[in-house]
Amino acid sequence: MKKIISTVAIALLMLCASVLPASAQSRSALRLNEVMVVNDNSLVDEYGRRSAWIELFNANFAPLEISSVYLTDDKANPRKYPVPLGDVNTKIPKRQHVVFFADGEPNRGTFHTSFELKPGQDNWIGIYDADGKTLIDEVVIPASLLPDQSYARTEDGAGEWKVRTGGDNDYITPSSANVIKDTNYKIENFAELDGNGFGMTIMAMCIVFSALLLLCLCFYGIGKIGGAISKMNKIRAHSTPAGAPDRAEVKHDSGEEIAAIVMALHEHLNAHDSENTVLTINKVKRAYSPWSSKIYGLREVPQHTPARK
């Protein structure tokens, strides 16, 4: 039995070990977020030039290191542009963006890819993980995209792709959020639709009650099952040899009864015998504090321990 348990434990550990590194890296949360193919009046690179750009977004709520992932425009060549190692800027902060210029000039720096996007035709762009096989994200930029228009997700890291023209409600947002939020919509909604807090109270109290009711029902069930099991164990422990009649009734040891008996004996005899164990009932007096005072246990059920011979 022990062998089986240890084998299962080792198998589980190995399973965890094989799964954890992949999820711990969380590169699967890297997203293509916005792309511009013909850049006449948009973002300028550090050399003062304009070229096509690709914005990536870290959808994690933790920083993400993207060095050694691959950017490519060729399905047949997934390792076309490896993001270089050793650049501190390749660590994208949580829920933030980074822009690569697709200018075919990788010698200009980390954020200049070895390929260019081609105007007037569909451009497929993909991100591959460091193994060069696992596709993390991909998008096809339509050929119909006009100069200075971008193709972007409706929300950062999620939602559909749509053409953005740069109009008032159609911002082009390289290296910043695709949706510009100036307020917390959740709070705005509560302020607007639940100004007196009645809705919040009903919802929240329902949830609090449901959670504790669930726990309550669960422990009614567990208590019943536990009671039945302990009753069975007691019957088994107290059962007489085969052929002899079983005891009719098995009762729990009651702490109160035991305490009452011990106190009555103490009162009656007014002395202890030579036993080592003495029941002492003293008032515990300590300075109150919510932290320290919980050390008082609720109940100590005296246990029968067979006397050693």
């Binding site: 959740k186 949830i207 609090v208 959670a211 504790l212 309550c216 669960c218 422990f219 504090s289 320290s292």
Partner: protein
Amino acid sequence: MSFGDFLYNNLAQFWSLTGFANAQFGNFVMLAVGLFFIWLAIKKNFEPMLLVPIGFGILIGNIPFNASAGLEIGIYEEGSVLNILYNGVAAGWYPPLIFLGIGAMTDFSALIANPKLMLIGAAAQFGIFGAYMVALAIGFSPDQAGAIAIIGGADGPTAIFLSSKLAPNLMGAIAVSAYSYMALVPVIQPPLMRLFTTKKERLIKMKPARAVSQNEKIIFPIVGMLLTCFVVPSGIPLLGMLFFGNLLRECGVTSRLAKTASNALTDIVTILLGMTVGASTQASQFLTPQTIFIFFLGFMAFVIASSSGVLFVKLFNLILPKDKKINPLIGNAGVSAVPMSARISNNLGLEYDPSNYLLMHAMGPNVAGVIGSAVAAGVLLGFLA
């Protein structure tokens, strides 16, 4: 420059850095508040473990200094020692550590033996949402109202955790208010308990709770964590640590860990939490009209929470069989001021019947209140963060 001028200039510059040169009226008010807290703790024995660190923290945080000198000494100056210690409050990682200790200290037997008492712990959370409605009516925004209302949970760490997420600028006032009212529970609750109960109800004797097996005690934190966190994942930091601490205590094979969590770790975090919360109440941040409203709302929250617990028991008794009635005096214990409110139930019960010990029964709703307030905090965080 003569030597005399040199000495004068340096001494004048030094004077400009001293507390005397930078003192304002607000600083002295807060210093008086800090001294009052320390006096309450030492002379009156009111929550000394909390009020001494908080009171001394108030003194530390309100020593006037020249903030523009860039000495990196203030609690709100990035990189200062106090700021580094304050990070546990601002980023909200002290409260879950305190919850770990609470879990390792708490015996949930009374609750496991009589699970229906959990509902009293749920009902008392109405104090939070009642105060939320009042806070909205006064003019606070929903996130601020949620952060203030959590005072009604009567749980300092939960209040600090939630306010650090929803309204960091109000956290000092909320924390001081929460701990002040927790110290005043023996003053606030008894009149309400008497008001809402009849003499006959106060004499109800409850059956002794059944014995709880070790297995049940081990299953409780595991199932409790899974169920509550599946319903309210935003409560994971608090509920996860609470139940984890309780598993350390009950499993029987990690007594060293349970001992550390319930003693050394809790003591260390309590010192840091109390001191930095106190230090965060700088006069410029604390002495505002909002603070008065927060103290008023905190009082409202405690009153509503205590009353709703008692009234819920009365309501519950209508559907319970005659031999299973609950004494409404344990309803106040639904707030999570453990174990003070349970002791109040017991003391009041003994006042009317010297043989009616309610402590064991009151501990059920009391620890359910800890779970309930953490769930309520998770709900508010989920809705408003």
